[in-house]
Symmetry: C2
């Protein structure tokens, strides 16, 4: 069982707050420090038990950290990691929880030499909710966390971060950043785009007739655009490739419906059902 | 409070079974008769309290009915209503629970003269589950039921069917069949098509990374193709028009992502979030 002296969480929202709560409840760290710009939100994080202390001073917090986890929007992570790194202890490990990995890992590795003690991470857990007030110590239990290593990643960083997520109850997969980004483009970023596009074309007159099917299909469209716009921008190529595959399937539906090819409609629907049934509830 | 002598339900699956259960629990009918081809399923419906008696003889069942509700797939409803009608008592009311209304109502009215005692209906409740074993007496409580009247619909049919659905706890809206079909193309049929298309393009390798967002967005793809293929075929024009609006929105996303227009991505995502937030959970 791992025990850290100081766990430092940069960005204490839903994900960062849940990591803090879970680590404290499981006794994984003697001390959990939250880093953020908004003092009132840090006080709120202390009040709900997600962190022990809060600070806005990233450099000072870095100097004391054994494990640092960056839970800020994906367009800020690389810059913050590179800002923190020179202040860290030589054996400190740094990781993140961002939904895109390629550009973050590439930016960080391009600015450093030799073995890198930063390891990209992404817990596949979340919610359309935001804020530490929705933090939940069981958010990662029985969920998948992806870690992305490269030929420059320090093996001890992989070991340490893997052990940390496993201790939070996660199933850990390790893969290259580009594999993560292709997979998540399809399993997360494209669904978000689709949900948002569908919600966006609903006519006001028809709100009353949007029942559970519409609500399920569009639920994630309630997510925070401040989080999702940078994800779409950073994972552009993989997201566009997934969108192309989806649009091709839409054209197959359109053709079958236009031409009254009911056997073809049936076959497309069976194909989707087979995949969805395999996923379980 | 209405009380029918004989309520006759043709097609005792999830919807028909739930109507039977709800009507019996609320004392709306002295006797509930189920009509179906499969004797074992009718026995199952009796066993779970959804109907009192079952028969495969539609004509005989029609002769005894005060209110008949057709809960069969949309491509069979018009034919069955026309088969039943000549056997019905002169003051019997007929309605259905199909997800498409225009072609059903048009086919029925084209084959009859004068005032018509059939009224199109559609409770906006359901599930990706099927079968009477999932029937639920509260399925319609606080849900919307749409009734479609035309200039040929008997006013007493509108009154009777409205009172019935209100007694099951539904909020009733009355509108022309074409309005129903346009609204439902967007709120139900297009989401089903999208969910199915998205599930269908998920690569096998990535199943493990399909978390709650993907699962919510594709949940309805598990629905029965035997139900959905006829819906897509019967509501072709309205569904294709909704699909066009959705594809146009996808192109806006593609253009903004391709050109790194983050303000435009943000604006599209905010638009979707605003609509989804307005719907509530």
């Amino acid at each position: 069982m791992m025990q850290l002296h100081t766990l430092t969480i940069v960005g204490v929202g839903l994900i960062g707050g849940s990591i803090g709560l879970a680590a404290k409840q499981r006794g994984l760290a003697q001390r959990v420090v939250g880093v953020g710009r908004d003092a009132s939100r840090l006080r709120q994080a202390i009040a709900c038990g997600a962190i022990d202390e809060g600070t806005s001073d990233l450099c000072q917090a870095s100097a004391e950290a054994d494990l640092m986890i960056f839970c800020t929007p994906v367009n800020r992570i690389a810059e913050q990691v590179l800002q923190a790194m020179p202040h860290c202890k030589p054996d400190a490990i740094l990781t993140d929880a961002g939904s895109v990995k390629g550009p973050i890992v590439a930016d960080i590795e391009a600015s450093l030499s030799g073995e890198v003690r930063f390891l990209g991470g992404h817990p596949l857990a979340g919610s359309e909710k935001k804020g530490v007030e929705h933090a939940n110590a069981e958010l990662f239990t029985d969920r998948v966390t992806i870690l992305t290593s490269t030929d420059r990643t320090a093996p001890s960083a992989v070991q340490g971060v893997r052990a940390f997520w496993q201790a939070l109850g996660s199933r850990v997969h390790v893969m290259p950043p580009s594999d993560h980004d292709r997979a998540l483009a399809m399993t997360s970023h494209l669904p978000h785009l689709i949900a948002s596009a569908l919600a966006g074309v609903l006519d006001d007159r028809w709100h009353a007739f949007a029942a559970t099917g519409f609500r399920d299909t569009t639920r994630i469209a309630a997510g925070d655009p401040d989080v999702w716009t940078p994800i779409f921008a950073q994972n552009r190529d993989a997201l566009l490739a997934s969108l192309t595959a989806f649009e091709t399937r839409l054209r197959s539906f359109r053709e079958a419906i236009t031409n009254n090819q009911t056997a073809q409609i049936d076959s497309l629907l069976f194909n989707g059902k087979k995949v969805r049934d395999a996923l379980g509830s």
